[in-house]
C-alpha cells in the first residue's frame, strides 16, 4: 500500500457510495479503497483478535469437506446413498487441492467464497477434530475412554467451548484465554471478550467478564435526558448496583448491570455509527450471521476508541441439527455463512488488520455418515473445521481425514461417528499461541493439553 495522502473522509464516502452502486464486480476495488482510507489512520498498536463462529446444532462435516479422489468419494457415496437424498454429487462439489496433501477434496456447493479463500491461501481446513480425553483408538473407545455424554448437544457444546471433557467445566477456553491476555487491555479496561450471543460458556473466564452487544438495535440506556431529575435517577440506579449483597444472584445481576451501564456509553456510538467505512462490504447481506460479523468488524474498526488490544469475539449460527431435510437446510446455512465470512475477511483487509484477525469455526459435533429417516443425519463426534485470516497457513488441510466407512477403523460405533484424530485442545492451543499466550501458560487455558503429542498443529504459521 502506497503511503500517499489518504482521501478525506468525506471524499472517501462519496467514492464508496458511488462504488456500492456498481455491484459485486467492483467489490475488490472497494476493498482497496477502504484499505487506502485506513492506511494512515490505523493505530500502530499491537492488536490481535480471534473470532469464534459457533455452528450450533452440530454441523455435518461429512457434507462439508468430501474427498474427491475415486476411492474416497466411492466410500462416501456407498454410505451416503443417492436414495438417502443427502448425497452430494461428485460434480457438484467445489474442488480444493490442499498444498500439503495429494488428495483432492471438494467443499459443499454453497461454500463458494470459502473455496476461493482456500485457493488464495487465506483459509485452512482442520480435519476430524473433536472432544477427547487423550488420543483414542477404537479399542480404547470400546473400553470406555470417551468424553462425558458423547452425542449430547449440551454436553458436547460445553466441551468444545471449555476444552474440558472429563468434568462439567465452569469456564470456557475463550474466557480463560482472555484471562491470560487481560493485561494487554489493562489501560483501557475494555473487556477482552465480546459476545454476540450472550454469556455462553466459551466466553466465561475466571476473572474476565464478557461484554454482550446486540446483533442489531440500540445498546443505549433509555430515559436519561440530562435533567436534574433524570440525573438523580441515574445516580440512584448506579448506587444500588454498587451496593454489596450477601446473595449470589443479586451480586451477579449487579455486576452485569453495572458493566452494561459503564460500557454502553462507549459501545453504543460505535454500533450506532452510520459512517463505518466497512458498511458497504455488508450492505448486500441481510443474514443474522452477516449482521453479527458486521458488529464485530465495527468493534475492530473502533479499536482506538475502545482501547482494546486483544479481543475475542463470539458469533453464532444455529440450526445445524439437521435430523431431517439436510440437503436444503445445510445448503441454506452455508449460503448464509460463506458470504458473511467473506465480507468479514474483506473488512479486515480493508481495515488493514487481516493478519491480526483470525476467524475459526466450532460446532457441537459432526454427524453420522449414515443417513437417517427423513433425509437427515444423527449426532456423531469428530468433524472438519475452518480457520480464516492472513495469518493462517491457508490452502492446506491439517489433521487426518477419516476413512468414510461405516464400522470402519475411524468409526466409534457403526453409523459413521468418527473418533477424532485431533483434539479441541490442540486446535485451541494453536490459536492461543498465535494470540500471544506463552507455551508455559497454555496449560492454564487447556488443562488437558499435555495428553496430546502436539500443542501446535501448524496452521498458524
Amino acid at each position: 500500500m502506497k503511503t500517499t495522502a489518504a482521501p478525506s473522509r468525506r471524499a472517501f464516502l462519496r467514492h464508496a457510495a458511488a462504488l456500492s452502486t456498481l455491484g459485486l464486480a467492483s467489490r475488490l476495488d472497494l476493498v482497496r479503497v477502504v484499505a487506502a482510507a485506513h492506511a494512515q489512520a490505523a493505530p500502530a498498536t499491537d492488536y490481535k483478535a480471534l473470532v469464534c463462529v459457533f455452528m450450533f446444532g452440530g454441523n455435518d462435516g461429512n457434507n462439508t469437506v468430501v474427498p474427491l479422489d475415486t476411492a474416497g468419494y466411492g466410500q462416501y457415496a456407498a454410505a451416503r446413498t443417492a436414495a438417502s437424498g443427502i448425497q452430494l454429487a461428485q460434480s457438484a462439489l467445489l474442488p480444493i487441492q490442499p498444498a500439503n496433501s495429494g488428495t483432492p477434496y471438494g467443499l459443499h456447493p454453497a461454500l463458494t467464497d470459502l473455496q476461493s479463500l482456500f485457493a488464495q491461501k487465506k483459509l485452512a481446513v482442520l480435519a476430524n477434530v473433536g472432544t477427547l480425553l487423550a488420543p483414542t483408538t477404537q479399542a480404547q473407545y470400546n473400553a470406555g475412554q470417551r468424553p462425558l455424554s458423547l452425542y449430547s448437544h449440551s454436553d458436547q457444546q460445553a466441551q468444545w467451548q471449555s476444552s474440558i471433557s472429563d468434568t462439567a467445566a465452569g469456564t470456557g477456553w475463550g474466557g480463560r484465554l482472555a484471562d491470560q491476555v487481560a493485561a494487554k487491555n489493562a489501560a483501557s479496561g475494555f473487556p477482552v471478550v465480546t459476545s454476540l450471543d450472550g454469556t455462553v460458556l466459551y466466553t466465561t473466564g475466571g476473572t474476565t467478564v464478557p461484554l454482550t452487544i446486540p446483533v442489531s438495535g440500540s445498546f443505549a440506556l433509555a430515559g436519561y435526558d440530562g435533567t436534574p431529575a433524570a440525573n438523580a435517577r441515574l445516580a440512584a440506579l448506579q448506587a444500588m448496583q454498587a451496593q454489596p449483597s450477601a446473595n449470589a444472584f443479586v451480586t451477579g445481576a449487579n455486576a452485569i448491570g453495572a458493566q452494561a451501564l459503564k460500557l454502553s456509553a462507549t459501545v453504543n456510538p460505535i454500533l450506532a455509527s452510520t459512517t463505518s467505512t466497512i458498511a458497504p462490504l455488508f450492505a448486500s447481506l441481510t443474514t443474522n450471521t452477516a449482521k453479527q460479523l458486521y458488529q464485530v468488524a465495527k468493534m475492530i474498526e473502533a479499536r482506538a476508541a475502545t482501547g482494546a488490544q486483544r479481543q475475542i469475539f463470539f458469533v453464532q449460527l444455529g440450526s445445524f441439527d439437521t435430523h431431517n431435510d439436510q440437503a436444503n437446510r445445510q445448503q441454506n446455512l452455508f449460503a448464509e455463512l460463506s458470504p458473511a465470512l467473506k465480507a468479514f475477511h474483506d473488512a479486515t483487509v480493508a481495515l488493514g488488520v487481516a493478519s491480526q484477525v483470525t476467524t475459526f469455526t466450532l460446532s457441537d459435533f459432526g454427524r453420522t455418515l449414515q443417513p437417517s429417516s427423513g433425509g437427515g443425519t444423527d449426532h456423531a463426534w469428530g468433524s472438519h473445521h475452518f480457520i480464516l485470516g492472513d495469518a493462517v497457513n491457508g490452502g492446506n488441510l491439517y489433521g487426518q481425514f477419516p476413512q468414510l466407512v461405516l464400522g470402519g477403523p475411524n468409526d466409534a460405533e457403526k453409523e459413521g461417528r468418527w473418533i477424532p484424530t485431533t483434539a479441541v485442545d490442540q486446535y485451541g492451543a494453536t490459536l492461543a499461541r498465535w494470540f500471544g499466550v506463552a507455551t508455559a501458560d497454555l496449560a492454564a487455558v487447556f488443562p488437558n493439553l499435555a495428553q496430546f503429542p502436539m500443542s501446535d498443529l501448524g496452521f498458524m504459521g
Binding site: 469456564t171 431529575a229 435517577r233 449483597s245 429417516s373
Partner: protein, 738 residues
C-alpha cells in the same frame, strides 16, 4: 425428640477447659452481662401487636411481642441470639463486646406468658466460666431446662422469652414456623455452640459443620410475616402479586389458595385458522386478512394470548406450571411458526398442568408439533442404509424425563463402586427408542387421501401407519428389557413411554426443574427429595401426579417463609416473569402485544427458543459463584440494558394500541394507587416494598432511591410514583426473587 438434650448435657461434661484468655475477654461471649432484670424487649412490639390484631383480624393470636435476633462472631465462629434490645444494641455498637455482626436472621417470640397461653418459657443459660462452653444456650423444653440447670457447666440466667413448642411429631401449629436447632461441637468444648434458625435451607447447610437437631421451637408469625409469605407465594404461583392478591392469599391461606387454583378451569388459547405450512407467499395474497402473515404464519397471536392471560387470567398457577412445563418439553416457532399449530401445543400444558406426568409425556410424544420439531413424524423403520431418526428418542430421554446421569432421589448423581458417575442410557438405548418411534405421520387433512407420509399439518395428533413401523423386537429399553416383536405400534409406544415414566430419575429430574422455575434456582438436595417423593407417590399410591408435585414444591418449608437469607437462595426473574411481575403490580391492562415484542429484546423470545434446549439450560452456573442460576444464561450486558429500558417504557412511556390489530388496547398501567401515596416519599417506598419486595427493601436501598424521588417536587406525585417504581423494578434486589 428432646432426647437430643443429652447433647447439650454432654457438651458441658468434659472438664478440660481453656479459660478465656485474659485481656482478650472482650472477644468472648461471657462479657455479655447485662443484668437480666435490666434487659429490655422491644417497646414498640406491644403497640404494633395491638394495631395489627385490631385492624385486620388476620391473626387469631396476638401479634408476637419479641424479636429474637441472630449475631455471628467470625473469630469464634459462634452464633448468638438475643431477644433483648439493649444486648443487641450493645453488640451492634461493638464497643463493649466487639466482633459480633447481625446475620439478618431473626424470629418472633413472645415477651410474656400472657401474650399466648400456649407459649412456654425459654430458659437462657450461659456456659459457666472455667467450667462450661463459652456459649449461650436456650431451650423451650422444660425437662431440658431442668436438666441443664443441674449441670455445673451451665449457669441459668433467665427466662429470655416465651415461644411455642412442636407436637410429638415435631410439627408446629398453624400460625407458627419451626425454629431448627443445630449443634456445632467446635474443636474443644469451650468452642461448642448452638444455632437457631427458621430458614430450613440455611439450617440444612449447617450439616457441613454441625449436627442438625431438628425443630426446637415454634415461632409465632407476625401479620407482616404472613403477608410477606403470601406475597412470596404470589411470586411463585402466579405471574406476579398485586395488593389485592396478597390480601386474598393472606385471608385464605396457602392451602386455601392452592385449592382455588387447582379448581380454576384452564384459560384457552384462541383457535387460529389453518394455513398451509410454508406457503405464506402464495396463500396470504388471497386471504382477506391484510396481516395474514403476521396473524397465521408467526406466533404473534399466541404470544398476545399468553401475555393477556398471564396478566388477567384467573388460573394463574395453572398457567405458571404450563409455562414451566413448556420450557421442559420444548418446541419452537423457529421451526413451527404456525399459530394454529403452536396454540394447541401450548394448550397441552395448561390442560395437563395438574394431571399425570405419564399422560403429559404421551400427549407431547404424539403431538404433531413435537413430531415435526424433533423428527418423529415420518420416521420410518430401517430401509437400506437409512436408519430410524434418533432425534426424538434422544431428547425425550435427555431433556423431557430422566437426563443423562443416573441420580438419587435427591437429584445428586449416583456413582458406581469406583466413584464414577453412571450414564442413564447409552447409544443402544437411543437406537431402541428410535425404532419404537417409527411409523407415525402427520394427521390427515380433511379431504386429502391417507398416505404413508401425510403432508405437513398440525390439526391434531400424529397418526399411525403400521406399514412404516418396525415390528421387530426392540431392546434394550431403559431397564434392559425389550419390547416383543409383532406388537401394535400404539402398544410399543405406550410401553416405551411407561418404561421411561417409571425410571427413578423422573421425579428428581422434573421436580428439580419445577422448583427452579417456580421457587429457587439452586434447590437443596433435601428439597428435591421431598418433591421427588411426592412425584413417586401422591399419598394415594399414584406416581406422577403433578398436582401433588406442585403442592410439594410450593408448600415446602424451603419455599415458604417471610425472609430467605441463604446466599444461594432465589432466582433471577426470567424476562417473561419480570415483565408480567411489574405489569401486574401496576394493575396493567394489556392486549399483550408489547410484551411479546419485548420478550425477545430481553432474551426470552416467547415460544421461539433457539433450540429444544430452551431459552436457557437448567444447569447454568452463575460465573464466579458456586450457584446454579439458569436465568443468568440469558442475562448479559445487552439484555440487562433492555430490561431497564422495558421498565423505563412502562413507567415513563406510552404504549398505545397497534392500529393494525382489531380490538387492541395497548398496555395501560394504573398508577392511581401509587400516585395517591406519592407525596410522602417514604410512604411510597413502604408501599413498593410491600408490593414488589415483600418487605425486604433494606435501608441502603431505600437511602439510594429516596434522593431520586425527592428530586421531583411533591406536587408531582405521578412523577414521584413512576421514578420510585422504576428504580425498584430495575434494582437487582427486585430482579432477583427470593
Amino acid at each position: 425428640m428432646h432426647g437430643r438434650a443429652a447433647r447439650t448435657h454432654d457438651a458441658a461434661k468434659p472438664k478440660r477447659l481453656t479459660p478465656p484468655p485474659i485481656g482478650a475477654g472482650s472477644e468472648q461471649e461471657d462479657t455479655m452481662r447485662i443484668p437480666a432484670h435490666r434487659r429490655a424487649l422491644h417497646p414498640r412490639a406491644l403497640a404494633i401487636a395491638a394495631i395489627a390484631a385490631g385492624a385486620t383480624g388476620i391473626a387469631t393470636a396476638a401479634e408476637p411481642t419479641a424479636t429474637v435476633v441472630e449475631f455471628y462472631n467470625a473469630k469464634l465462629d459462634h452464633y448468638f441470639v438475643t431477644a433483648y434490645l439493649d444486648e443487641a444494641a450493645m453488640l451492634d455498637a461493638g464497643v463493649v463486646v466487639p466482633g459480633w455482626t447481625r446475620t439478618g436472621a431473626e424470629f418472633k417470640a413472645r415477651a410474656g406468658s400472657a401474650d399466648d397461653a400456649s407459649a412456654v418459657p425459654v430458659c437462657r443459660f450461659f456456659g459457666t466460666p472455667g467450667k462450661g462452653p463459652n456459649s449461650h444456650f436456650y431451650t423451650a423444653n422444660a425437662a431440658e431446662c431442668a436438666l441443664v440447670k443441674t449441670n455445673p457447666g451451665w449457669t441459668y440466667e433467665s427466662i429470655a422469652y416465651y415461644i411455642g413448642v412442636p407436637d410429638a411429631a415435631g410439627r408446629c401449629a398453624t400460625g407458627t414456623t419451626p425454629v431448627y436447632r443445630s449443634f456445632h461441637p467446635g474443636a474443644s468444648v469451650s468452642e461448642s455452640n448452638h444455632r437457631f434458625l427458621v430458614d430450613l435451607t440455611m439450617h440444612q447447610k449447617m450439616a457441613a459443620s454441625s449436627t442438625l437437631e431438628g425443630v426446637a421451637m415454634c415461632s409465632p408469625l407476625s401479620s407482616d410475616q404472613m403477608k410477606a409469605d403470601a406475597a412470596r407465594l404470589a411470586e411463585q404461583a402466579t405471574f406476579g402479586p398485586s395488593d389485592a392478591l396478597v390480601a386474598h392469599i393472606t385471608a385464605v391461606g396457602v392451602d386455601g389458595f392452592l385449592a382455588e387454583q387447582f379448581a380454576a378451569p384452564a384459560s384457552a388459547y384462541p383457535a387460529f385458522k389453518y394455513v398451509p405450512a410454508g406457503q405464506a407467499q402464495t396463500f396470504c395474497p388471497a386471504d382477506p386478512d391484510p396481516f395474514c402473515v403476521r396473524d397465521y404464519y408467526t406466533l404473534f397471536g399466541v404470544q398476545n394470548a399468553f401475555f393477556h392471560d398471564a396478566l388477567a387470567g384467573p388460573d394463574q398457577l395453572r398457567q405458571r406450571v404450563a409455562f414451566a412445563l413448556s420450557q421442559i418439553m420444548v418446541t419452537s416457532g423457529t421451526d413451527i411458526p404456525l399459530a394454529y399449530g403452536m396454540a394447541p401445543y401450548q394448550q397441552i400444558f395448561r390442560d395437563g398442568a395438574f394431571g399425570n406426568f405419564e399422560d403429559l409425556l404421551t400427549r407431547v410424544t404424539l403431538s404433531s408439533v413435537m413430531g415435526d420439531y424433533l423428527n418423529m413424524v415420518n420416521n420410518d423403520k430401517p430401509v437400506g442404509e437409512v436408519a430410524p431418526n434418533e432425534n426424538y428418542a434422544r431428547e425425550l430421554l435427555q431433556l423431557f424425563s430422566i437426563g443423562v446421569w443416573e441420580v438419587k432421589a435427591d437429584g445428586t448423581q449416583l456413582t458406581d463402586a469406583a466413584g464414577v458417575a453412571i450414564p442413564s442410557y447409552d447409544q443402544d438405548t437411543i437406537e431402541t427408542f428410535a425404532h419404537v418411534f417409527t411409523g407415525w405421520t402427520y394427521p390427515l387433512l380433511p379431504g386429502v387421501p391417507q398416505r404413508a407420509h401425510n403432508p405437513k399439518n398440525f390439526l391434531g395428533d400424529m397418526v399411525a401407519v403400521a406399514a412404516n413401523h418396525d415390528t421387530g423386537a426392540k431392546g434394550p429399553l431403559l431397564d434392559g428389557s425389550a419390547l416383543p416383536a409383532g406388537q401394535p405400534m400404539q402398544t410399543d409406544l405406550a410401553q416405551a413411554i411407561h418404561n421411561v415414566f417409571v425410571h427413578p430419575n423422573v421425579g428428581p429430574f422434573i421436580g428439580r426443574q419445577l422448583i427452579q422455575k417456580l421457587v429457587t434456582g439452586d434447590p437443596s438436595p433435601q428439597y428435591i427429595a421431598r418433591v421427588a417423593a411426592a412425584f413417586a407417590n401422591n399419598g394415594q399410591g399414584v406416581r406422577g401426579d403433578l398436582k401433588a408435585v406442585v403442592t410439594a414444591v410450593l408448600t415446602d418449608a424451603e419455599a415458604r417463609g417471610a425472609l430467605k437469607l441463604d446466599p444461594g437462595y432465589g432466582k433471577l426473574r426470567e424476562p417473561v416473569l419480570y415483565m408480567t411481575g411489574i405489569a401486574r403490580a401496576l394493575g396493567t391492562q394489556s392486549d399483550g402485544v408489547y410484551f411479546g415484542t419485548q420478550s425477545g429484546q430481553l432474551g426470552q423470545p416467547l415460544f421461539y427458543p433457539s433450540s429444544v434446549f430452551n431459552y436457557y439450560p437448567p444447569t447454568y452456573v452463575v460465573p464466579g459463584t458456586p450457584n446454579v442460576g439458569p436465568e443468568f444464561a440469558i442475562q448479559n450486558s445487552s439484555t440487562a440494558i433492555n430490561r431497564t429500558n422495558f421498565a423505563n417504557t412502562l413507567a415513563f412511556g406510552t404504549i398505545g394500541p397497534l392500529p393494525t390489530l382489531p380490538g387492541a388496547i395497548g398496555t395501560q398501567p394504573d398508577w392511581s394507587a401509587l400516585t395517591a401515596v406519592a407525596t410522602d416519599a417514604n410512604a411510597l417506598l413502604d408501599r413498593l416494598d410491600a408490593l414488589l419486595m415483600h418487605g425486604t427493601m433494606g435501608a441502603a436501598m431505600r437511602a439510594a432511591i429516596l434522593p431520586a424521588v425527592t428530586a421531583i417536587p411533591a406536587a408531582n406525585p405521578s412523577g414521584r410514583a413512576k421514578t420510585a417504581f422504576y428504580l425498584v423494578a430495575t434494582s437487582s434486589h427486585y430482579q432477583v426473587e427470593r
